[in-house]
Symmetry: C2
Subunit: 125 residues, 2 copies
């Protein structure tokens, strides 16, 4: 049984507040915003890209690392990265020759909490 240092994150501290998908009906606008992000990660290649970036050493990966992991052309990888970028899931910056991408953790936390059951959420540190 692992040990746990528990950090309470109550809903009213969350910033910005996650849409409570499970607790009350989403407005049309909330649904459109949230769906855009879910659609971005609702594609196998993009989900693998996200996972590769998130789990890469140092928390970031350059495009060449990612391209090598797929049997897809450069433009296709570039397209998927752009979709993830425009959905606010990842961000990238050029450092010299290479462009490095990393996850935007706030967006992921927002998604995760929006699907959590209708109750407060605590995350162990």
């Amino acid at each position: 049984m692992p040990k746990h240092d528990v950090l309470i994150v109550s809903r009213d501290e969350a910033e910005p507040c996650a849409s409570a998908v499970m607790r009350e009906p989403l407005t049309v606008d909330q649904a459109a915003d949230l769906a855009k992000v879910f659609k971005a990660i609702g594609e196998p290649v993009r989900l693998r890209l996200l996972s590769l970036i998130a789990s890469h050493a140092g928390g970031e990966a350059c495009v060449c690392d990612l391209t090598d992991a797929f049997e897809l052309s450069g433009p296709t990888i570039s397209h998927h990265l752009k979709v993830l970028r425009e959905a606010g899931v990842i961000e990238g910056d050029r450092r010299g020759t290479w462009i490095y991408y990393r996850v935007k953790p706030d967006t992921l936390r927002l998604l995760s909490e929006s699907l959590a059951p209708a109750q407060d959420v605590a995350v162990t540190a």
Copy 2:
């Protein structure tokens, strides 16, 4: 500041174990399975349907309740419900004249945990 009764849910108790999107690279198969569910909820109408069902009194809603909430034809609503059903997000059963849909909480919990940061997760009861 709200009070919290904390129930620890450690990763090795989770059944089935959530894919650790944020902690290690997904396999091709894991990504395909997960992406199918995210794609299902990555559509505004379907996300609103899910939210309506989840937040409806009694935890379930009949199709007529749902159809009235949209300016869309019956077949279109039926199509979206089918996509959600085949993704394992909701389930429905007929009781007399009406068919009632409800959320499958395990699937939602799986999604939520798969996007959570690379650490254990605790949910307040």
